[in-house]
Symmetry: C2
Subunit: 337 residues, 2 copies
DNA sequence: CCTCCGCCTGTTAGCGTTACCGCTAGGGGG
DNA sequence: CCCCCTAGCGGTAACGCTAACAGGCGGAGG
């Protein structure tokens, strides 16, 4: 039921109906223990009867807090960012926060900073930045210092806390797995330059090969899409020495699988293929894909809780790593011969 | 540069620095043409010098508008909802709106209404509801009437405008395509009951078969996942009569492809398989998947503009359909024999 | 010369909430 | 018996902005 005159009820209407002052109504809503149980009950009854909802703008104007968190993220159509965002939102909701988004189509320092500005203009209490790109790192060094911020998958030497999956460790595991199957070396189809995840995976892969004294093939660069995986896979299929490929994400691995098959090279009998991410479909590729599982949900939750700490004034500036997990399926096998 | 005392500058600080009244500053920001060019320039200079940003809460308190739109959506991890959300956000940004999200993990009337409540408590100016589920339809009939709302992919007989892809037309096209290849009939792996998209596709498929006087096989029900497609595909592979399957989305089609291959039935020589959605990977499945392209981006943009009209007071209550497009690849071919 | 009109700017009064301080009633200690 | 303390509640003043009206000033028209 609405207030007498038809407009939404305000705090004063509740106060009048309950026979108390406006201040008491406010207390009932924000600090219920400080008001006598009987009074509280009367107020709550009035709240229900009038269908009263506190005006956020008025509350924010005086408290300075909006209860809204901002997430600026690269293309939320991608599986990783979408999943991270989803779990951030879940965690935020459970803690009583709302989340506002700023998706970036192109990723560079300016677009990222513009996203932050947009959210700031909206008076968010804090931001989480999902911008796993070299070009955005510089922007992270110049964030407004009074705005609590946490980054996901960011580079080093930045003044904000970071939550991320340990890309390097994942790449190390999958590369070691391939070497342990007897392959002389492992080729690598990487993500685009400037992507931190792509570079982390390259480092892990290269490190294992160098440490084992194996030849390090040239890195091939895709753009995360199946299309680019297919294109690069056609080139790879011409390499006579090729027996194992580590592809930097599952979508590109799908393209590589198709290219190899079209060239008549069997997986895993002739060539082993491994991916990264463990998207839900990869278990149903042909053959089912060996890959590295990233727990994007955990990253999202972690980022949110770090932001919460940050907003509470904690001065954490470290990075928290989530461990990836090797998932062995049927696309990798013993080296031929 | 901040205001003298260290706190963020407010409108009054700008007014003092520019030597005008607060009202003039407000006008420069909201209705620049109504103030003399020279005065305007002085004010803008002061704005820049103080790094002044209008306080949204104060503005909202007096205007009643927040400049924030809400999107309540089923699991934004799924390709369709994620893409729709992405384009809604893009369109909203271009029009000067921010977007706040409420993702639903389980979809039913209560969770949907709770999502709307959460956004309403946040004082959004309007909401877009992506809840393509029977159970949510009833909730759409009881939305607070004063809240401008638009639904995406909703059912019939609801009092809010709807933007959606014409599911039935897509199913009709793909089923006709399969019949035209000489198949006696077409099997169907559908999405979960209560999903409107799933049911629309069933209707289109069934309609074509009945109209052509073909037998109508029992509908198989999956849950959109590749896993369920695989499970149902194993059953299908046992059907001796099977020569054509229309699968209600591409992920399930991937599972069906694998199940058929494992059972030794070749695609498309023995069995034709078609999907729905045209996710970016489906062109790289083995074989490349014939499917129906849904333009989720167009749906998102459309929904946003309908909401804009709605907020402007327009009384549209119709539904706007986006046409899907058949994409023929290599997973469908002439009937065997 | 006066009046009227349009352009530009200023003054006043809120918008709905919470922070801060103050008041009252009742109870326990000296 | 008085004093002080606490629990419970109320009054007032912001928070930062814009709607609505008011006024000054110059030029056009009578």
């Amino acid at each position: 039921m609405k207030s007498r005159n038809g407009r939404p009820a305000v705090l004063m209407d509740v106060a009048v109906l309950a026979g108390v002052s406006a201040m008491t109504v406010s207390r009932v809503l924000n600090d219920p223990d400080r008001v006598r149980a009987e009074t509280r009950a009367r107020v709550l009854a009035a709240v229900r009867e009038l269908d009263y909802r506190p005006n956020q703008a008025a509350r924010q104007l005086v408290t300075g807090r909006s209860g809204v968190l901002g997430v600026v993220s690269i293309d939320t159509t991608l599986y990783g960012p979408a999943t991270t965002l989803y779990y951030i939102e879940q965690a935020a909701r459970n803690a009583g926060y709302n989340v506002s988004i700023a998706s970036l189509s192109s990723l560079n320092r300016r677009s990222m900073e513009e996203g932050v500005q947009r959210l700031r203009a909206q008076a968010v209490d804090g931001v989480i930045i999902v911008a796993p790109h070299e070009s955005a790192t510089e922007g992270l060094r110049h964030l407004p210092p009074e705005l609590p911020a946490v980054a996901v998958d960011a580079g080093d030497d930045i003044p904000v806390p970071v939550a991320k999956v340990d890309q390097r460790a994942g790449a190390v595991r999958v590369t070691r797995h391939l070497l342990s199957l007897g392959h002389r070396t492992v080729w690598h189809v990487a993500g685009p330059p400037d992507w931190l995840d792509a570079n982390g995976r390259i480092e892990g892969w290269r490190g294992v090969l160098e440490q084992a004294g194996r030849p390090v093939p040239d890195v091939l660069r895709g753009d995360w899409s199946s299309r680019s995986g297919y294109r690069l896979g056609r080139g790879l299929a011409q390499e006579p020495e090729l027996t194992a490929v580590f592809v930097a994400n599952d979508q590109m691995a799908l393209g590589v699988l198709r290219a190899l098959r079209e060239a008549g090279r069997r997986v895993p009998e002739d060539v082993s293929v491994a991916g990264f991410d463990d998207i839900p479909e990869s278990a149903y590729y042909w053959p089912p894909l060996t890959t590295v599982r990233q727990d994007f949900g955990e990253v999202g939750r972690l980022a949110f809780h770090m932001l919460l700490d940050r907003m509470a004034g904690a001065d954490l500036d470290g990075r928290r790593l989530v461990e990836p997990e090797l998932v062995v399926r049927e696309s990798t096998g013993a080296a031929p011969g």
